[in-house]
């Protein structure tokens, strides 16, 4: 697999540059609306990851790895589940069941509880983004002749 950019076509590069912000924005939108409408962390995360994948495809794997460093990805990957677990455990600490938001005094209000769900969704989104991009990088960025 080549190390450098896959394409030298200016058109592709430019369109990619233009496309990536809307893709990511859309991804964020999907994540944030996860708890009240179709969507959520998984879907949004994949959308954001696709923008990274697109970037890596067009500008090369090395550039992609530079933009989203392995260390950072490795940190972000487990973050979502940990957020998820922590919120769940906080519910248990307030003598509710796992993920029983109503047990937490602040979240007794349904509106605020919804925000808490968003928090979980954001966590999942982060994880999915990192994981999908990592899978892509792990497979595509691998040297096969070495």
């Amino acid at each position: 697999m080549s190390e450098g950019p896959i394409t030298k076509d200016v058109l592709v590069k430019t369109v990619t540059k233009i496309l990536i912000p809307p893709i990511q924005l859309f991804g964020l939108y999907v994540i944030m609306h996860g708890h009240i409408s179709p969507g959520g962390g998984f879907q949004g995360g994949v959308i954001i990851a696709s923008s990274f994948i697109l970037y890596a495809l067009v500008f090369g794997y090395r550039e992609g790895a530079h933009r989203a460093k392995l260390k950072i990805r490795q940190f972000l990957e487990p973050l979502g589940p940990i957020i998820f677990g922590t919120i769940g455990l906080i519910c248990i600490l307030f003598s509710g069941n796992f993920l029983q938001y109503s047990a937490i005094p602040i979240l007794a209000n349904a509106e605020i509880a919804a925000t808490a769900i968003s928090l979980v969704e954001i966590g999942i989104g982060i994880t999915v983004t990192a994981v999908i991009f990592s899978i892509f990088m792990a497979m595509g960025g691998r040297k096969t002749d070495g």
Partner: protein, 500 residues
């Protein structure tokens, strides 16, 4: 409050599962922390599983609903004595695996893989716990997939090329199993509109679905799927290849917990969802499995005799031992069910001990073949002693737990006048004797008169082996401890009659 005992079941799942993610993060900051971290987390889970068992025995089954909803809408977790026993098996084995792995993995794997290894073990434990205490069939599927994926990876983590190929084979077969399971779930859902075990059972009975082809199909798919996972003959073909090349602690964990959990799920689903009459009279799952088990016991033992690679031999032995468990279940009486599950418990102790011991020998001497074991009794006396103890237990010599299983199984088949199965079990114990005494013979008495220098395995490996070997004897005498967890459930499952 954290100490609220009703919260125990979810913690059993959460601690290892989220512990895995914690391990994944903490390894970024401090290398080599994963061993300690997983040790702490798994000790905690083990302790909690004991607490759970105690709680279940003293104050009845726990039904836990996440998010404070009511079933069938919430994700329900049900812990009865049997699933508590399963979590004890799972957490104790993974705890011992982690203790054992400290030295073993450091030698076998690179540093980077070492940290992945512990993450995967934690994930596997979490998945297994989830799998055995899930109260609805779909969550069971998710647990199954978590444990499967981590077990594929754990088998492939060994640094030899055969391990990867066998892991791929395992992955293909295992995924078909999971797909079948999912499809069976789909059929159940389409017919009943629910996924919760208790609810499923009630609806199948209420809607009179016992003659529905879709329910038949779901039985077939679920049983086949779980049989692949549980290495039930003739769907065991992935196992010998995978075990002969995988790391020894993984073999121990897999043979001691993973396939056991699958068989447990098989028993649990068929008996709670479909009910004993259905699987006896309408779809003769039990009879089919009973005969397959009978064949498996003999064929597995014969294959084991023909192997010279000890890990491969133990894998075939597991095929035969799974047959024991399924046979107990297939006999179809309460006694048979207790016997099968008791053997499930005992087998996980014995087989894990054997795999650990074989791994320790390979660790010290690099020998994995039966014919290289000469003089091993002098070279590694303690390890070999524990190995022999577990091997004797496999043969079923009293006062070990293998004997108790054998006793119970023969009793169960005799009391239901299925003489042929009593004969199969007894003959199989002779076949076991052939291949286990062959190893003991080689190790202690097989030529090699020159005094070999003692070169014992490190303590971190000896302790798990010893604990398991001594448990073989302890539970051979105190078998009423596991039985106290098994029998109430066996009674409940067998009397759970829904065809009215």
């Amino acid at each position: 409050m954290l100490l609220n005992q009703n919260q125990l079941p979810i913690l059993l799942v959460l601690i290892p599962l989220f512990g895995a993610y914690l391990a994944a993060i903490s390894v970024l900051f401090k290398k080599k922390i994963n061993n300690i971290l997983s040790l702490i987390l798994l000790s905690l889970s083990f302790f909690l599983s004991l607490l759970t068992a105690n709680h279940v025995l003293t104050s009845g089954d726990i039904s836990y609903h996440t998010a404070g909803l009511q079933p069938p809408f919430a994700i329900e977790i049900v812990v009865d004595p049997l699933s508590a026993l399963m979590t004890i098996i799972i957490t104790s084995l993974s705890l011992l695996t982690v203790i054992y792995s400290r030295e073993f993995i450091r030698k076998e794997l690179s540093d980077k893989r070492e940290s992945y290894y512990y993450i995967l073990v934690l994930l596997l434990t979490g998945g297994l716990n989830w799998f055995v205490i899930a109260g609805d069939i779909f969550n069971m599927f998710v647990g199954l997939e978590i444990l499967s994926i981590s077990s594929y990876s754990l088998i492939a983590i060994a640094q030899n090329k055969e391990a990867i190929a066998s892991a791929y084979q395992y992955l293909l077969m295992g995924s078909i199993g999971s797909s079948f399971f999912l499809l069976g779930t789909g059929y159940l859902y389409i017919m009943t509109g629910t996924l919760n075990f208790a609810d499923l059972a009630i609806r199948i009975a209420q809607l009179g679905l016992f003659n529905s082809e879709a329910i038949f199909a779901s039985t077939a798919f679920i049983v086949t799927g779980l049989s692949i996972k549980g290495a039930i003959f003739p769907l065991h073909v992935w196992m010998p290849d995978a075990y002969s090349k995988a790391l020894a602690p993984i073999c121990a964990l897999s043979s001691g917990a993973i396939i056991e959990a699958a068989v447990y799920a098989l028993i649990r689903i068929t008996l709670t969802v479909y009910g004993i009459e259905f699987i006896t009279e309408i779809v003769p799952v039990k009879t089919i499995l009973l005969w397959l088990a009978g064949i498996a016991i003999i064929i597995g033992s014969l294959y084991a005799i023909s192997q010279s690679n000890i890990k491969r031999m133990l894998a075939y032995s597991s095929v035969s031992q799974m047959g024991y468990i399924v046979m107990g279940y297939g006999i179809g009486t309460q006694l048979g069910l207790s016997a099968g599950i008791l053997h499930l418990f005992n087998h996980s102790i014995m087989k894990a001990c054997l795999f650990f011991a074989v791994g320790a020998i390979a660790y010290k001497t690099g020998k994995t073949d039966l014919y290289e074991y000469e003089g091993m009794g002098d070279k590694m006396p303690v390890t070999m002693m524990f190995f022999s103890l577990a091997a004797i237990s496999m043969v079923g010599i009293p006062p070990t737990n293998g004997f108790i299983s054998k006793f119970y199984l023969v009793w169960a088949s005799a009391s239901s006048t299925r003489w042929i199965f009593a004969a199969i079990i007894l003959v199989s114990s002779l076949l076991n004797a052939i291949y286990f005494f062959r190893i003991i013979n080689k190790a202690y008495f097989g030529g090699g008169h020159e005094e070999a220098s003692r070169d014992e395995a490190p303590y971190t490996m000896l302790v798990p082996i010893g604990v398991l070997a001594i448990s073989c004897v302890v539970f051979g005498l105190a078998f009423n401890i596991p039985l106290s967890l098994i029998e109430p459930v066996a009674e409940k499952l067998m009397t759970l009659s829904l065809i009215i």
